[in-house]
Amino acid sequence: MIYKVISKAEFKRFIDALVQNNSAFGPRLVDTDSRGESVYQFQPVSSVEEIAFDYTRTASSAKHFFLPFREELSQFHFHDDDWEQNVSYEANPVVLVGLRACDISALNILDDVLLNSHFPSACYLAKRKNTFVIGMDHLPLPDCFCKSLAHHTVSTGFNLFCSDIGEKYYLSINSSKAFTYLKEFQTEEPSHEDNCLLTERRKLISRSFQTEVDVTSLPSILDIEFDSPVWEKWGAKCLNCGTCAMVCPSCYCYSVEERFNIDLKGASRNRKLYSCNLVDFAVVAGGHNFRPKNGDRLKYRYYHQHRGFAENANQQICVGCNRCGRACLAGINPKDVINDLRMEKESCMICVSQSPART
């Protein structure tokens, strides 16, 4: 990693040059909700002025730039008595501005799943390699709990990360591409004072968290609480709408479908992001549904996020952005569900572990 500082005015010129000359996306104000809160999404940007650098969070994550909601995986062409498969995974270069540390952590988790597994995804790889990721730090929002999962800072998975140290940005340069682009702009070596400001900034971020979710031992608590009534309680609220997984930066489950083209001369194989909360997620051929109940489906979302992957890859998938909690119309959110599970266990402990009376 190479570190530089850049004045905010020069930084704007740098971003402007990048977004004017590339297919670029950044946070933009798209609506004001009925409570008067601004709603942001990653949207196309063609000038620096269009980017809302002071945005809170985007309602949907940046996942779909790498793992589109729908994607054609291959085409099949029938000819003579045979057929051939064509796979194309060219991806055009994209610049993504303004991702938060937790969003980049989510990409690193997707890398683990989709690149570092037995069957790497070429489609994902092409997009990941061709996307120039610029991260920006921020002060946590009241419901951010990424610190509980140690994702409030990030040290890999981006091209450039910008920390706001007042008059300047402190740049962590993590790719030769970013280094080369920045050569055209005026940057300086960080001074002793800049380093102190960065440390102060990190401390400020770290102590500004208002929401903490205790995720220690969560994989084993989830094992123990497999039959907990907590699942039925929260399941009864769930609308099965899949919104949580759609907005999540790290939910990657998908369905694959093969279809004839309308001229019947070929076919396509298509991937569609899915959600374990959708009613037919666990339906198999013949129609049997392994998870017919809301509570079961909700449980498995938490199991995948906080247990399954933790057991296999030693990390939970959730990065603590609480997009799912904010988007859920039924008011289901990780903090309350996880605390409910812990309470269940802890109240239990209290009733069995009364201290013996002193004699």
Partner: protein
């Protein structure tokens, strides 16, 4: 009709309309780029909107519209007797559709309003499955041609013809829309079957449920949501009743 690997038969196809605007049948003419390929899957035996020829030897009947007269019942029963596969085509056929608003009034009132002084027979609106067995439903006001293409290809190739089982929210999130509940509206998206690509909500118009309920919806949780957001219950009832698609889910 033969592609290089498989041989398929064209569908011996007929299209009929009852009480409706015929807008769903008009969708057959949509998506011009694939129109030729689409119609090469069909051997059109009867289709009043596009052809004056009329043959009764069809196997598959697409039926648009709801039932509002006794002669319509007779025609529908005759179609059922001929068709090996009967498809309820569009919201009116599937649920009664917007025509069902008529059922809020007495039939005499309706005649006096629309055809004053004329001897007109009219019945309360019914969906076609109230009279005949329906093999497949393609809901929508109007139907989505892309989905119609997909289902016709499935019928020709003998693969499963299915609709999405999940609600509109999935497709609405794909479009990165702001949730209309967050904008203070009642939207039926969380309980309505997807497949429309969330076209209404993408235009910031709340979903009125033209595609009917998704599979296994959590209706009590939906009612609670509307209550918790302090939204108007009579507005909800009006939306649920708009296409008569939520008959099975009474809302007090």
């Amino acid at each position: 009709m033969k592609n290089p690997v498989y041989t398929f038969e064209k569908l011996k196809f007929a299209s009929f309309e009852f009480t409706c605007c015929e807008g769903c049948q008009l969708q057959f003419a949509n998506r011009e780029a694939s129109l030729e390929a689409f119609f090469s899957l069909l051997d059109v035996r009867t289709f009043r909107e596009i052809s004056s020829e009329k043959h009764d030897d069809y196997d598959i009947a697409f039926v648009e519209g709801s039932i509002s007269r006794s002669d319509e019942i007779e025609r529908l029963l005759a179609i059922r007797r001929q068709a090996k596969t009967l498809v309820a085509f569009g919201t009116c056929a599937c649920f009664g559709g917007v025509n069902s608003l008529k059922n809020c009034h007495s039939m005499d009132e309706c005649i006096a309003e629309v055809y004053p002084g004329l001897p007109v027979e009219t019945l309360p609106i019914r969906k076609i499955s109230d009279f005949v067995k329906v093999d497949l439903s393609i809901p929508g006001c109007p139907v989505a041609k892309k989905e119609v293409e997909r289902i016709v290809v499935s019928l020709v190739t003998g693969s499963l013809a299915t609709l999405p089982k999940y609600p509109v929210c999935v497709e609405c999130k794909e479009q990165l829309n702001t949730c209309l509940f967050d904008l203070g509206e009642i939207c039926l998206g969380p309980i309505t079957r997807a497949g429309c690509d969330a076209v209404c909500t993408t235009g910031k118009t709340p979903c009125l449920g033209c595609r009917g309920p998704a599979d296994d919806i959590n209706f009590p949780a939906f009612l609670e949501l509307v209550g918790e957001r302090g939204l108007n219950r009579s507005d909800l009832k009006e939306k649920l009743g708009f296409y008569n698609a939520f008959e099975a889910y009474p809302c007090q």
